[in-house]
């Protein structure tokens, strides 16, 4: 059983800080009904659950909130807040808990992927030239192997294409053959599409890392490339 909550030394500063960033988070409206906790797969991990977390926040148990590793096992899936009768925004609380960890103390896997994304445009850290080479190589293979696709075009950075598509960088990097089926579908429909070369990957580990600055940078670079260079009116993410 968990130890009782000590009301001494309460410092409700963390709550105030999150409320400032998330004005509609509704922490003070929590009815303690436990609907969040009943439907949360992360309940009980690290001796924590969403209701308990909100109670701790409201009681000002800032130190415990800041250090619990639960921040990284909750997936911010939103099932709790979706079911919450008072719409308490627990995922955004968790996001801000993650953000309160010193950047270099956050999980190395997520940190590494975020840094690679900022530097190379994808979480795998693959140079853009390699991505382009893979795409062209796989497309050529399909054109040769399947005559009905001999005219199939796969392009990167084709200006004026209607649709820009980004997908998870693991696909071109670790399983390039998995690119083909999507291309064939697009070819069959007759879609006018291209891959962007800037921030071409669909994932975003800076979001998971709660690195606002990195997250914003990735989005800004991407939006600028699509709007001002490629001028594609439609962006599609495959996940």
């Amino acid at each position: 059983m968990a130890p009782p909550i000590e009301l001494n030394e309460m410092e409700p500063e963390f709550k105030e800080m999150v409320k400032e960033r998330v004005p509609n988070a509704n922490f003070d409206l929590c009815l303690t009904c436990g609907t969040c906790t009943a439907g949360c797969p992360a309940s009980e991990l690290f001796d924590m659950d969403p209701r308990k977390l909100v109670r701790m926040l409201v009681l000002g148990l800032d130190e415990e909130i800041r250090k619990t590793e639960w921040a990284w096992v909750c997936t911010m899936c939103g099932r709790c807040s979706n079911a919450c009768p008072m719409k308490v925004d627990i995922p955004k609380l968790v996001f801000n808990m993650r953000g309160s960890w010193p950047r270099d103390k956050r999980p190395k896997g997520i940190l590494g992927s975020c840094d690679k994304h900022i530097k190379t445009g994808n979480a795998m850290g693959v140079p853009t030239d390699d991505f382009i080479w893979t795409v062209e190589d796989v497309a050529e293979e399909i054109r040769n192997a399947q005559p009905q696709f001999k005219d199939m075009q796969v392009t990167v950075d084709r200006k004026g294409a209607y649709m820009a598509i980004n997908q998870n960088s693991r696909e071109p990097v670790t399983e390039p053959d998995e690119l083909g089926p999507l291309w064939k579908i697009l070819h069959t429909v007759g879609v006018d599409w291209t891959y962007p070369s800037v921030m071409w990957a669909g994932e975003n580990y800076c979001l998971f890392l709660a690195d606002d600055e990195g997250w914003r940078y990735i989005l800004e670079e991407f939006v600028d490339h699509i709007d001002n260079t490629l001028k594609c009116p439609m962006v599609v993410n495959t996940e």
């Binding site: 797969p41 997936t75 998995e178 996940e239």
Partner: protein
């Protein structure tokens, strides 16, 4: 983009919505005839970011329309609960890279039980994170289902799936249509 108030001119959508639209418009002619006699059972994962957190019930409906068209209505078995109330697979939010493997798998046990209750041989996972996590918990808890991409089954149904594009098919479909 909304969070940071970054203005953008383009529209943003998911490939699932487009699959559904193209199927409805007849631009993507997919039939489930291939599975009429095989009767292979499929279920589908609702990725949190596509369904609950972004396009909500519309995405859940589109997803089911697409999958049922590919595999046949009678061969689709939904998870319980599903759609916007479905459980996260446990791989989201960076969990697959966070290093808390034991907790991630404990989290995924609910998803594993949900999948096993459907009895489906295939789980279609339209998100790379879900795909990896559902595969991992299947392996860890001893499930025998196969995790596949939607595009794999769609191309299989249209008879255009290449020989080297079958990594995520089980033995029953490895040679199908070649």
């Amino acid at each position: 983009m909304k969070k940071f108030k970054i203005p953008h001119k383009f529209q943003f959508t998911s490939i699932i919505a487009l699959y559904a639209q193209w199927m409805r418009e007849g631009k993507l002619k997919v039939s489930s005839d291939w599975n009429k006699d095989l009767k292979i059972k499929f279920t589908v994962q609702d990725p949190c970011n596509i369904v609950r957190k972004t396009w909500r019930q519309q995405a859940a409906d589109d997803l089911r329309y697409v999958v049922k068209t590919i595999v046949g209505e009678e061969n689709f078995i939904d998870m319980v609960p599903n759609g916007i109330n479905n459980y996260c697979c446990g791989g989201g939010g960076g969990a697959l890279q966070a290093g808390y493997t034991e907790q991630r798998r404990a989290y995924g046990k609910i998803k594993f039980d949900q999948i096993m209750a459907t009895g489906a041989q295939y789980v279609l996972a339209p998100c790379h994170n879900c795909h990896a996590q559902i595969h991992d918990i299947g392996h860890h808890y001893g499930g025998h289902y196969q995790v596949s991409h939607i595009w794999t089954l769609m191309c299989l149904a249209m008879g255009i799936l290449g020989e080297n594009e079958r990594t995520y098919l089980a033995e029953d479909l490895k040679e199908f249509g070649l």
